[in-house]
Amino acid sequence: MSDKVTNIVLVGVGGQGILLAAEILSETFMLAGFDVKKSEIHGMSQRGGSVVSHVRYGKEVFSPMVPEGEGDILFGFELMESYRYLSLLKPGGTVVVNDLCIAPPSVLVGQEQYPADMALKIQELCPDCLLVDGQNLAIQAGNARAANTVLLGAVSKRLDIEEKYWIEAIEKMVPKKALAVNLKAFEMGRGLK
């Protein structure tokens, strides 16, 4: 095992299932034999605020926070929040982002506009960017709420971890009644190019 620590930053809006996705990532890496650390800010963010979670794994991890500019993967659940946190990503880093806009309060009331062309701007700064239609794929898998698992599937293809660990983690963390849909959503995400 090399000493390299892999850094993943998850960002989105409170209520999108970001924390569960971060839990599944962490569990997967532990099952695969790595040291893992995960850090997040919640509390106020439950009420529609911005949510950021950091997951790091490797032989030995010190800080639970991804050092600025050292993120390997930005795992985004919403376009504007993904753009906002690009500074955490290293140059040439990978972005896997849900093709979804959620308007913040100032936009809802018509005071500000949701910035145009967020997806394009992300792709300009990070050419290695996969735009995922998470919502529609989740509906195809059987439940619109499984978009986070579709995205997780897409992220999993970009990491060198055996599939069995992912499945084991999902089976452990996802409630039984939602498991079949989530496993399907995960496979659909993994199938994305």
Binding site: V13, G14, E23, S26, E27, M30, D35, V36, K37, K38, S39, E40, I41, H42, G43, M44, S45, Q46, R47, G48, G49, S50, V61, F62, S63, P64, M65, P67, E68, G69, E70, M80, E81, Y83, R84, L86, S87, L88, L89, K90, P91, A103, P104, P105, S106, V107, L108, V109, G110, E112, Q113, Y114, P115, K121, L125, C126
Partner: protein
């Protein structure tokens, strides 16, 4: 057994393994999940107290009759619990007592950034500070040993990045050292009259000296010698950032941050060319190291404000910063009250009535944000009523009428009730609105004495707020439906006119309550496009379910997201054109 645990989960596990029998707390981010995890262990009696002072008193009672107890709170909660804490330092313990205080550098969800290490020094009690979840578990167990060996309560300090970070933990078993409770009277130790307390103070000072000496041999205070050029004294999460940013530096990692092991610090200082202290918030370690005559660099290079990150440590040491993408400025994304939140109608009304709103701490603090913009003060838990009393004491009569205190159910029971008794007794003529949503919502929906359930999910007495207010002498108590804007306006304006104390209680629950039968969503609403004139009146309540859809060349229209709408119907009451109706 290996698991990934958060710091909070690991502390709960540590308490279980240490044989803790009683755990008590008032919820507060980032400490809340500790008690939400001790309930996994039925051997521990876990409960929410009405406030932090009561929580600590419950812990003290259990300790004095011999059982190990755990008390948890956030940093500002320690201010509330400080009174019993300082004397508990004198009495010492019988069964071990650990008080967890969770600090929040960077104020992720707090009203100030205080450094609780000062409390350890001020109250003269030892403080341990873990640096990851494994240490959270181990230090909790060690804290009980120290507590009983040195006859002292022990503070366990965490910060947000310890409480809410997860890392791999090896778990153990509940030990055989579970202490049974039994009455053993010892007035000289447990009755702190001046004569007894003078004797105990001497013991406290001796204890601190002894702990400082013994700390030099404690494995949790450890020297990691690497390169001799740079030596760093650090603790807690700062240790992780130092290891990340300065992998070659020698480190003295302190597990006990009070009292400091001065001899060990002196030895370490002698082994390195240049000595630094890397710590979040106050120069707590730095000042004490300087005071014993050892030159050290600390706050000259590291900010006294905010939390550390690996990048901030790199910058402090002049290391090159990583390249970062520059992104343009974006609209912010602050938290907001939920769709259907029962507070929204009240704040809309207060804004319309141009009230001076003395605010408090909870979800409803978000009422200060536009477009509701209806909160003028927020200082600490329970403060709104007392502050309203103070304001009406000095305002001219016409201005006095504008003063309205708002307070949540849990906050009212925390310390607000004292303010209300004072207001009635001292004839304060202000209006108090108790925003009773049946739950401690902001910290994640914890039960409280007004909700009718305990932390361990047993049915319990639910405080009758109306009767309670009457019992403490409020003559004018009215209950309103906060989702009915006409009723809000009529009742609130009538009570604001009244030249004596009055209390208005709202009676709709939080939309996030999961318990069956408490919150019932109404039918989702929709905007009938042909009727919408684009007047924007419905946008004035700032509901996340209502979106303004601009249209080029002509007026835009409002749109309601049927998936978000909880059918509270407040928006339709604002629409003069009957454009908001039940979705078909």
């Amino acid at each position: 057994m290996k698991e990934i645990l958060s710091g909070n989960e690991a502390i709960a596990r540590g308490a279980y393994e240490a044989g803790v029998k009683v755990a008590c707390a008032y919820p507060g981010t980032p400490s809340t999940e500790i008690l939400e995890n001790t309930i996994r262990y039925r051997e521990i009696d876990s409960s929410w107290a009405t406030n932090e002072k009561v929580a600590l008193e419950v812990g003290i009672g259990a300790s004095f009759v011999g059982a190990r107890s755990l008390v948890t709170m956030k940093h500002v909660g320690v201010n509330v619990a400080a009174d019993p804490l300082f004397t508990l330092s004198y009495t010492g313990v019988n069964g071990g007592l650990v008080l967890v205080c969770a600090d929040d550098p960077e104020l992720h969800s707090s009203q100030n950034e205080q450094d609780s290490r000062n409390y350890a020094k001020f109250a003269k009690v030892p403080m341990l500070e873990p640096a990851d979840s494994q240490e959270c578990l181990e230090f909790t167990k060690l804290a009980y040993e120290i507590s009983e060996k040195y006859d002292t309560p022990v503070l366990l300090r965490t910060t947000t990045r310890i409480s809410h970070s997860k890392s791999v933990v090896n778990m153990g078993e509940r030990t055989g050292a579970v202490r049974d409770a039994k009455i053993e009277k010892n007035a000289a130790k447990f009755v702190m009259l001046p004569g007894n307390a003078r004797v105990r103070h001497v013991a406290v000072e001796e204890r601190t000296v002894q702990l400082s000496k013994d700390g030099c041999g404690m494995p949790i205070n450890r020297v990691e010698m690497r390169d001799g050029k740079i030596g760093v004294i650090t603790a807690g999460i700062a240790y992780q950032h130092v290891r990340e940013a300065l992998p070659e530096a020698s480190v003295l990692k302190l597990g006990m941050v009070h009292p400091l092991p001065f001899d060990l610090i002196g030895d370490f200082a002698a082994k390195v060319e240049k000595l630094y202290v890397v710590e979040e918030l106050d120069p707590f370690i730095e000042e004490q190291v300087k005071a014993i005559g050892i030159p050290v660099i600390g706050k000259e290079i590291i900010s006294i404000c905010g939390e550390l990150t690996p990048g901030r440590v790199r910058k402090a040491f002049g290391l090159p910063e990583n390249a970062q993408s520059a992104v343009e400025k974006l609209p912010g994304r602050p938290p907001n009250m939920c769709p259907g939140c029962p507070h929204r109608g009240v704040f809309y009304t207060l804004n319309q009535l141009k009230a001076y709103v003395s605010g408090d701490i909870g979800c409803y603090t978000l009422g200060f944000m536009p477009p509701l913009s209806a909160m003028d003060t927020c200082v600490c838990m329970g403060a709104s009523i007392g502050m309203a009393t103070g304001a009406v004491k000095v305002l001219p009569p016409e201005e006095r009428k504008k003063v309205v205190a708002v307070i949540g159910d849990s906050t009212f029971l925390h310390t607000g009730i004292n303010g209300l008794m004072d207001m009635v007794y001292n004839k304060g003529a202000a209006t108090v609105i108790i925003l009773d949503n049946r739950i401690t919502a902001m910290t994640g929906r914890q039960e409280n004495p007004g909700s009718g359930h305990t932390l361990m999910n047993d049915p319990a007495n639910a405080v009758d707020f109306e009767l309670l207010c009457k019992a403490i002498g409020v003559k004018n108590v009215r209950t309103i439906n906060p989702l009915d804007l006409d009723e809000c306006r009529t009742v609130i304006s009538e009570e604001m006119e009244r030249p004596e104390t009055s209390v208005i209680i709202t009676d709709k629950p939080c939309v996030l309550i999961k318990r069956e039968g408490i919150f019932k969503a109404g039918a989702p609403l929709q905007v009938v496009d042909e009727s919408c004139t684009g007047c924007r009146a419905c946008l004035k309540i700032g509901c996340p379910a209502i979106e303004w859809v601009p249209a080029s060349g002509k007026k835009g229209k409002a749109h309601i997201d049927p998936l978000l709408c909880n059918g509270c119907d407040v928006c339709s009451q604002l629409c003069k054109f009957s454009a908001i109706q039940e979705a078909k």
